[in-house]
Symmetry: C2
C-alpha cells in the first residue's frame, strides 16, 4: 500500500526541517547552527525575504536575539521562532492582518 | 526584469500563510480561524501528521491550548505556534534531535 501523499502544509514543515539539517550538519553539532551555518542559511534560503543590506544587518541582530540560551548556536526551536516571526511579518504585509491582539 | 524565484524555504512560509487564509476567510473574521475553520484546516491539511483518532482528540485540546487570548478563535500567531510545535516534534522524531536545552 503506497504511503499517503503529504499535503502542501506538511511538505512545508518537512522543508523547514530539511533546510535546517542541510546547514546544521556541515560543522560541529549536527543539531544546531553555528554563526557561519546560520549566515549561509539565511543569506541563501531567505535571500528574497531578507533582500536588502539593512536586512543583512538585521541577520546579525537576529542571530544574537535568537540565541536565547546564549551558547552562540541556533538550535531548531530558535530557528522555528525566527521563521514564525518572519511569517507573521509577511502575513501582516501581504494581508493587512492586525498585529496580535494582546 | 522577472521577479526573483523564491527559495523552497520562502515557498514554505508562503504556503503557511496561504493555507491559513484559505480557511480563515470562509466565515466571520478573515484574520482568524473559528472552531469549524480550525478543524477543517487541521483534519485536511495536517491529515497525515495528525493521522490517528487520538490525534483528533488532541486537535480539540490543541484548539483550547492554542487560543491563548481565549476569544474562541485562532489567529495567525497562534496558528504559527502550533506549526512550530509540530515541526519541533517531527524534528525530534525524524532526526533524534534533543529537546530544547533549557
Amino acid at each position: 500500500m503506497a504511503a499517503p501523499r503529504s499535503t502542501a502544509l506538511e511538505g512545508s514543515l518537512k522543508t523547514m526541517i530539511e533546510v535546517f539539517h542541510f546547514y546544521a550538519t556541515k560543522q560541529g553539532d549536527p543539531h544546531s547552527l553555528n554563526k557561519g551555518e546560520f549566515h549561509a542559511l539565511v543569506s541563501t534560503e531567505l535571500a528574497n525575504v531578507l533582500a536588502d543590506q539593512s536586512d543583512r544587518d538585521k541577520v546579525n541582530t537576529l542571530l544574537s536575539s535568537l540565541d536565547a540560551d546564549k551558547n552562540g548556536e541556533v538550535d531548531f526551536e530558535e530557528y522555528m521562532s525566527m521563521l514564525s516571526s518572519l511569517a507573521i511579518k509577511c502575513n501582516q504585509l501581504l494581508t493587512g492582518a492586525p498585529a496580535h491582539r494582546q
